[in-house]
């Protein structure tokens, strides 16, 4: 996929956030007076040109947040603003491109007709519309094959691609992508990632919602982690995933005495058959380990600094949050008793 050129956006003070969420809460009222908190006191800002990702497991409040931003759901408390307008305001919608999760479009239309329809709804002038549709169809690789086919015969990947094209039809300032690689094959996933990176280069603001953390890690500037409606972490990727200070040495050919020498020196080792792994916290310890390894006749096969992934940080944060909730619940139960 290639990028479409982003036309100069309407002059906007860089200090004004594109998306401004303050104390947003959403409670679903179910039958028998039961209530479910889908979102609790969420406060976020997304700045112009930023690629912001919301991650979280199923039921964490990602889709609820997106639906509130699009005016499909109404918050129970708090407020959200897009470009300074309330969600659902036509002025805000004019500047938004939205790709829904697992998008479904009018099956009776073909790809070109679909873009034509959405283009007209967005008020894209006729003289611009035709060339933009061609450009977008080329961008998503549907120009030669698919543009004139009814959407009912589209594969999952083709639907996702036409979904991306319709989200771009109004040359939006803010792209909202809900699980953009959901159900795509590896090639499709890479194409979507490239698309997001291209849009990022064009300084388009992107709000990405995903549970695929590797995808988020590759494209996002900042990430918010939601869990059961609570914001449990937010920040730049490099802050959420701090640089590792650990060193890992992997060696073979060490005798029992050799392994014991590491332990005697106070270094922690793991042994799996013939492979010995040494994990140390400082560069000095790494040098010491290397020295012992050489003296004991071991062969170094790997020396790395293992980086924690967003996934590890995410699991850690979610795990801590779950633990905190469990402790809270136990304490409340104990107090009641």
């Amino acid at each position: 996929m290639v990028a479409t050129a982003k036309s100069p956006a309407v002059a906007e003070p860089t200090t004004n956030p594109v998306v401004d969420i303050r104390g947003l809460s959403k409670t679903y009222r179910l039958m028998m007076g039961k209530e479910v908190n889908a979102l609790t006191d969420l406060t976020l800002e997304i700045k112009k040109g930023e690629t912001f990702a919301i991650v979280g497991p199923n039921g964490s409040g990602k889709t609820t947040t997106m639906k509130i931003l699009l005016g499909m759901l109404f918050p129970t408390a708090g407020e959200a603003k897009l470009f300074g307008y309330a969600p659902g305001d036509a002025e805000a919608q004019r500047r938004i491109g939205y790709l829904p999760e697992a998008p479904y479009f009018y099956e009776f239309l073909n790809g070109r007709e679909l873009l034509e329809y959405y283009g007209k709804l967005c008020g894209v002038p006729e003289e611009v519309r035709k060339s933009r549709i061609d450009e977008l169809l080329k961008m998503v690789d549907l120009y030669d094959r698919g543009a004139d086919m009814p959407i009912r015969v589209y594969s999952r990947g083709m639907r996702q691609r036409i979904g991306i094209a319709q989200a771009m039809i109004n040359d939006p300032d803010l792209l909202i992508l809900d699980e953009p690689t959901n159900g795509l094959d590896p090639i499709g996933t890479v194409q979507v990632r490239q698309f997001i990176l291209e849009q990022k280069k064009q300084q388009r603001t992107i709000l990405l919602c995903s549970h695929l953390l590797s995808e988020v890690e590759a494209v996002a500037d900042r990430v918010a982690i939601l869990h059961r409606g609570d914001l449990i972490a937010v920040g730049p990727i490099n802050e959420l995933v701090p640089e590792s200070t650990m060193w890992q040495l992997v060696a073979t050919g060490l005798s029992r005495e050799g392994i014991a020498a590491f332990k005697d020196a106070g270094l922690k080792v793991e042994v799996h058959g013939d492979v010995v792994t040494l994990l140390v916290e400082t560069l000095d310890d790494a040098y010491r380990g290397l020295g012992i390894m050489r003296d004991q006749g071991g062969e170094l096969i790997e020396l790395t600094r293992p980086q924690p992934t967003l996934e590890e940080q995410f699991l850690k944060a979610v795990g801590e949050e779950s633990l905190r909730r469990t402790v809270d619940t136990l304490q409340k139960t104990a107090r009641k008793k």
């Binding site: 639906k67 919608q93 939205y98 479009f105």
Partner: protein
């Protein structure tokens, strides 16, 4: 962009969807077969033949029109929500009231196509059977067809209204009940006012009759075939009141539909 344009874009897309679907085409073919079949009515005297043709022809247009209005209308909003085709539309600069009105005008367009196609077949059958010997064309038939169209638009507005807060099954049931009660309002009224009917039943049938549209008053078949009125306008205007009441039903149904849909979580 004007406020009107999105309404007609949505209406146009709705009509396209129905025209490219199966339901309308199958039912129209069925209607055509009925109308062609009515040409083979057994030989009776010319007056009876005319009455039979008019009665069956207008009945086919009305009944089939109602079936098409219900079968294509009940999915218009619930279908968009279930299929999630609504989300990309409402994420564009389209207001919810524009979507509701667009769906109504789409339904009105489908009613128009249905009535037009069936009316053409009806008039063709009428001409082939009667028009060759009697060159006087009965203009009352055109008025009757236009009234049928107005009746179907009232029904469509009510279907849109129900579909903003009911499931599709609820919408079908409510539409069919309203259609049935409205089409036989006089008959049901007469039944409910019998001497043996208790006061509660009388009062409730009065409320129902006043609340629901009187489709029977818009159906000109009875006036043409049974009462044999020569004019719909003199001595009594049979068209004016039902039309005004019909427009009121449409306006109220769409206003309520818009109000409900505006506050509905999607």
């Amino acid at each position: 962009m004007s406020y009107i344009r999105p309404i007609f874009l949505i209406a146009g897309n709705t009509v396209t969807g129905v025209l490219r679907g199966v339901v309308l085409n199958v039912l129209l073919v069925l209607g055509a077969l009925f109308l062609i079949g009515s040409m083979f009515t057994g030989a009776i005297d010319p007056g009876q033949l005319r009455a039979t043709l008019v009665d069956s022809g207008l009945a086919v247009i009305t009944m089939l029109g109602a079936v098409i209005a219900i079968l294509t209308g009940f999915t218009m909003i619930p279908g968009e929500i279930e299929n999630r085709t609504l989300y990309p539309v409402l994420s564009k600069p389209v207001r919810r009231w524009q979507f509701v009105l667009g769906k109504f005008f789409g339904a009105a367009g489908i009613n128009g196509i249905t009535v037009l196609l069936l009316a053409v077949l009806f008039f063709a059958a009428y001409y082939l059977k009667i028009g060759r010997t009697d060159h006087h064309f009965d203009l009352r038939l055109i008025v009757a067809v236009l009234m049928t169209y107005a009746m179907l638009c009232v029904l469509s507005a009510l279907i849109i209204f129900f579909s903003t807060f009911m499931s599709w099954i609820g919408t079908i049931i409510a539409s069919m009940v309203i259609w049935f009660v409205g089409s036989y309002s006089q008959f049901l009224w007469d039944m409910s006012q019998g001497a043996e009917v208790n006061a509660f039943s009388k009062t409730s049938s009065l409320i129902v009759q006043k609340l629901l549209p009187d489709f029977q008053a818009m159906d000109m078949r009875y006036a043409i075939v049974q009462e044999n009125v020569t004019s719909f306008f003199t001595p009594h205007n049979l068209i004016g009141k039902p039309l005004v009441v019909g427009v009121c039903y449409i306006v109220i149904a769409l206003a309520l539909a818009t109000l409900i849909f505006n506050y509905r979580e999607l």
